[in-house]
């Protein structure tokens, strides 16, 4: 959608619309990313990719909760050396910025994968330091300001493209991590990844997910995500991708008002279909017109005014 109302610039990337695809939703194949871009996404984030292939956890990996989903997919990915081919193809297909989500077990791994992703055409990398269900990576790094600083510094040294840090809500004070990322040179933040959760089945008296613990997404986490965006907006100057439970335009506008410059949508792609981005964009545009704004940028952080 080329609509100046909805155009945003975040970390030097121009997005035709402020709604991006969140990592881990579709996003393995170039064609699935194109599907989402055609559905109105202003940018796409790939499934998280690491150095070596991982098969992920056995099923059940995704379970329905009362107002969202709990997943412990376990970062299945083919490894960056295989994935570069898909990325090159994706870059050739996509009319929108390609953001590659990266994870690693060490700062060096994050840097190596980021470098290869950028060489393959990534317009930015998003560091997944917030996956709640894989040991020694993800939130184990994103919960520790020192480790996080090291990871961001090494990735910044390795690539010339924008570096986005995706924060975990599973911390005592998210602003501490946001500041660490900012000081280490991050260009933007994604707030938030999933909220650690468990699903239990009463008849079998078992935890349902094969990994037991997983991450909650969808409408259930929206208020938590909003609070995180609100707090982070006040703590740092970095632009924010708001993420967590966004399903319709009203949710998106709430995130803009809380301080997000753009949003990412995950779970709603399954519940609503890949055209959910168009629906949200249309709703945001008519909200902006109704309120007589010329651009979505004008409402970012608006509720912090007084």
């Amino acid at each position: 959608m080329s609509n100046s109302l909805l155009t945003v610039n975040i970390a030097g990337m121009n997005l035709g619309s402020p709604t991006a695809l969140a990592s881990g939703i579709l996003g393995y194949t170039a064609e699935s990313l194109r599907l989402v871009a055609e559905g109105g996404a202003g940018a796409v984030v790939t499934k998280s990719v690491g150095v070596a292939p991982r098969p992920g956890y056995p099923n059940p990996t995704v379970v329905q909760a009362d107002s969202g989903l709990i997943n412990a997919v376990g970062l299945p990915n083919p490894g960056i050396d295989f994935y570069v081919e898909e990325l090159t193809y994706a870059k050739s297909l996509l009319p929108v910025p390609l953001i590659v989500s990266v994870f690693g077990y060490t700062a060096e791994e994050y840097a190596l994968v980021s470098k290869k992703a950028v060489e393959a055409g990534a317009d930015a990398v998003e560091l997944n330091v917030s996956c709640p269900h894989v040991k020694y990576t993800g939130s184990e790094i994103g919960q520790n300001p020192k480790l996080l600083t090291d990871v961001v510094c090494k990735v910044k040294a390795a690539v010339q493209k924008p570096v986005i840090v995706k924060l975990s809500p599973n911390v005592t004070d998210i602003t501490e991590l946001a500041k660490a990322a900012e000081n280490a040179g991050a260009d933007a933040l994604t707030v938030i990844n999933t909220v650690r959760a468990v699903a239990i089945n009463v008849e079998t008296q078992r935890a349902v997910l094969s990994n037991i613990r997983g991450g909650l997404s969808g409408p259930a986490i929206k208020p938590i995500a909003l609070r995180c965006v609100y707090d982070v907006f006040e703590a740092v100057k970095l632009p924010i991708f708001g993420c967590g439970g966004i399903t319709d335009w009203r949710d998106a506008v709430e995130f803009f008002l809380a301080g997000a410059s753009a949003v990412q949508v995950g779970t709603a792609v399954g519940s609503e279909d890949p055209t959910v981005f168009q629906a949200i964009n249309r709703g945001v545009a008519s909200y902006l017109k109704r309120k007589a704004y010329g651009s979505v940028n004008e409402i970012v952080g608006l509720c912090h005014q007084d």
Partner: protein
């Protein structure tokens, strides 16, 4: 509730006891469960079956009605073997039904099934029987022991009995299920071909149907995790098999020609040969 595109009820895990087990062959068993939602499934749809503590796997629905649902399972690995060891009264988890279904046509139809892929076609045949002029069935398996539903299929066919093929010649014609097709299609006009089974078989049928410009629908299998169009594990071309499929029409099959019967995504998202 805001999640409106799919009913969250369908995706909510229900636990239910096995109420029936039938041996179809030494390697295939049919299970009956009590489940309202899946009992209303249409031919072609599938469910996700949770074998507690072991795995969750996709299975085509064989039949539904009166609050009950049936599916047939071939023991091939860990999850399906565990299932084969279970007894009446044991608890299973189920969510679904998921995916689209076969379109019901009129006139003369040809159904081609391979192995347990015959299950959704049998379900379809039962629904079609009263409405169509002619129904022909070709079923194939590696060996006699794996040929399932033969009697039921014979009863469904209009003129002749179902054509059975085995790869080892232990029953019926000694060939692949695709072999009798050309002569069948030479002899008679069909309005639709429905296919389900090993993907290389489906591919061969697609090639034949394309050459003869015949309409076709095929049910495909891919690795499934979420079952609701979210995780991307089941992509084939631009389609999500769990949500846009599992049944694909001729025009869609043409779009995914470079993957159909050739490659698929593995557990780690890399492309593997079929």
């Amino acid at each position: 509730m805001k999640l409106s595109g799919y009913a969250t009820k369908i995706n909510t895990l229900r636990t239910t006891a096995i109420v029936g087990i039938k041996d179809e062959s030494p390697t295939v068993k049919t299970y009956t469960l009590q489940d309202d939602l899946c009992s209303k499934a249409k031919p072609g749809q599938f469910l996700m079956l949770w074998i507690p503590g072991i795995d969750e796997i996709p299975l085509s629905i064989l039949n539904g009605g009166n609050g009950q649902v049936q599916f047939s399972v071939k023991a091939v690995g860990d999850a399906t073997r565990h299932l084969h060891d279970m007894q009446i009264g044991d608890l299973l988890g189920v969510r679904g039904p998921f995916g689209n279904s076969f379109t019901e046509t009129r006139g003369r139809v040809l159904l081609v099934g391979g192995g347990t892929g015959t299950a959704p076609l049998l379900f379809l045949a039962k629904r079609l029987a009263a409405k169509i002029d002619r129904l022909s069935f070709v079923v194939g398996a590696k060996t006699r022991k794996e040929l399932v539903f033969l009697e039921e299929l014979d009863a469904m066919c209009t003129d002749e009995s179902a054509i059975a093929t085995t790869e080892d010649g232990s029953y019926g014609l000694h060939c692949l299920a695709t072999e009798p097709l050309e002569s069948l299609l030479d002899k008679q006009k069909f309005n639709m071909i429905y296919a389900c089974g090993p993907e290389r078989m489906v591919r061969k049928i697609f090639d034949i149907a394309e050459k003869r410009k015949l309409p076709m629908e095929a049910s495909l299998e891919r690795l499934m995790r979420c079952g609701i169009g979210l995780c991307g594990s089941c992509m084939i071309g631009k389609y999500r098999v769990c949500k846009d499929g599992p049944v694909f029409k001729m025009a869609q099959l043409s779009e995914i020609k470079n993957e159909l019967g050739i490659s698929k995504l593995g557990f780690d998202g890399s492309r593997i040969d079929i």
